[in-house]
Symmetry: C2
Subunit: 205 residues, 2 copies
């Protein structure tokens, strides 16, 4: 019996403006073995965009049918168009032993968590969180309102982390990429995965 | 309030002969930021060995007192001498924010697991496990007894893994080191650790 280890679904998320896109592009340019998920969308293809490469293009009707049939890991509407992550595509890719990375807003990540809890959920955190204390204490120039607002934002961000497995501080893009790659490597070394692999290897009797 | 993140206790273990010592020496030569634990022993110092550098040297009486007072994470007797890992030294090092690595036999690792379950337990697995199936199926030259013996050893090894968090295959020393370093990085990104850090940073009100 041949045994192919299943891929990991890695969900990279975090507050808007934290630099998810930049980190994902940097990871891609490293040539890591992470497959980027392809979204389904109802918007019209732009020049040069190819079906099944950049997006899966669908009518609104077809998209709504996918929602009803629970064929999407997550979906959202932006300026009149729908965008979503197709379950079948992701599962097929994982079954081929390929890791898949999904770069996504927090709300979408929570939907994925519900539909695919076995994913690896990484929260990209703004470096400002670590710097916050120094910034607040070090400068006498900031108003109390501004300080309180920053603290509130920081607390909300920390509160969001509870749904995630890992927190990666985006202090430097390359360091953040190193940490994400390390998490993927470590997840592949998790005992449950390896024991499964060995047990299948021993099915020779 | 200043906040120092606590270090990780990394326990590297595995069946005898798997190459724990070789992997540990390779990690050390990389200059990684892992502190090697210093053992307590009742054997006499050899030429050049320094107290608190190579070992903590103790009388048998003092060692037995440490056992009674539960001052050892694990201990064992080899050829008439006692060897053990001092809890206080490990905890002080962790409190300084320093990661500690312990290279140890399976029986010792199980004792550490009991006394310090929050450690990161890595099982170093022989590459023969993965190769086993090919070796058994591919060669007609091996006797049934030999095959059955190998299967039994493999099953016992897999059974040992259940107490560990990670399994690292020692197929190549450098690859095994990469995986161990990745595990340490990933463990530092675990959400619980980071949320704790951020919460302490916000204690500025």
């Amino acid at each position: 019996m041949s045994f192919k280890e299943k891929g990991l679904l890695v969900v990279l998320s975090g507050p808007s403006g934290v630099g998810k896109g930049t980190v994902c592009r940097a990871l891609r340019s490293r040539g890591t073995d992470l497959q980027y998920s392809i979204s389904v969308t109802t918007r019209a293809p732009r020049a040069g965009e190819q079906e099944g490469v950049h997006y899966f293009f669908k009518s609104k009707e077809a998209f709504k049918k996918m929602i009803e049939e629970k064929k999407l890991l997550e979906w959202a509407e932006y300026v009149g168009n729908y965008y979503g992550t197709p379950i079948d595509y992701v599962k097929q890719t994982l079954d081929q032993g390929q890791d898949v990375i999904l770069e996504i807003e927090v709300q979408g990540a929570l939907q994925v968590k519900k539909n695919f809890p076995e994913g690896t959920f990484i929260f990209l955190a703004p470096p400002s969180l670590s710097e916050l204390k120094n910034r607040i204490q070090g400068r006498g120039t900031e108003t109390l309102d501004l300080i309180e607002n920053r603290l509130k934002v920081a607390k909300d961000e920390i509160d969001m982390m509870k749904y995630y497995d890992y927190v990666v501080e985006n202090d430097q893009v390359e360091k953040a990429c190193d940490r994400i790659e390390a998490i993927v490597t470590a997840e592949h070394c998790k005992r449950e995965r390896l024991v499964e692999k060995y047990k299948k290897l021993l099915e020779v009797e």
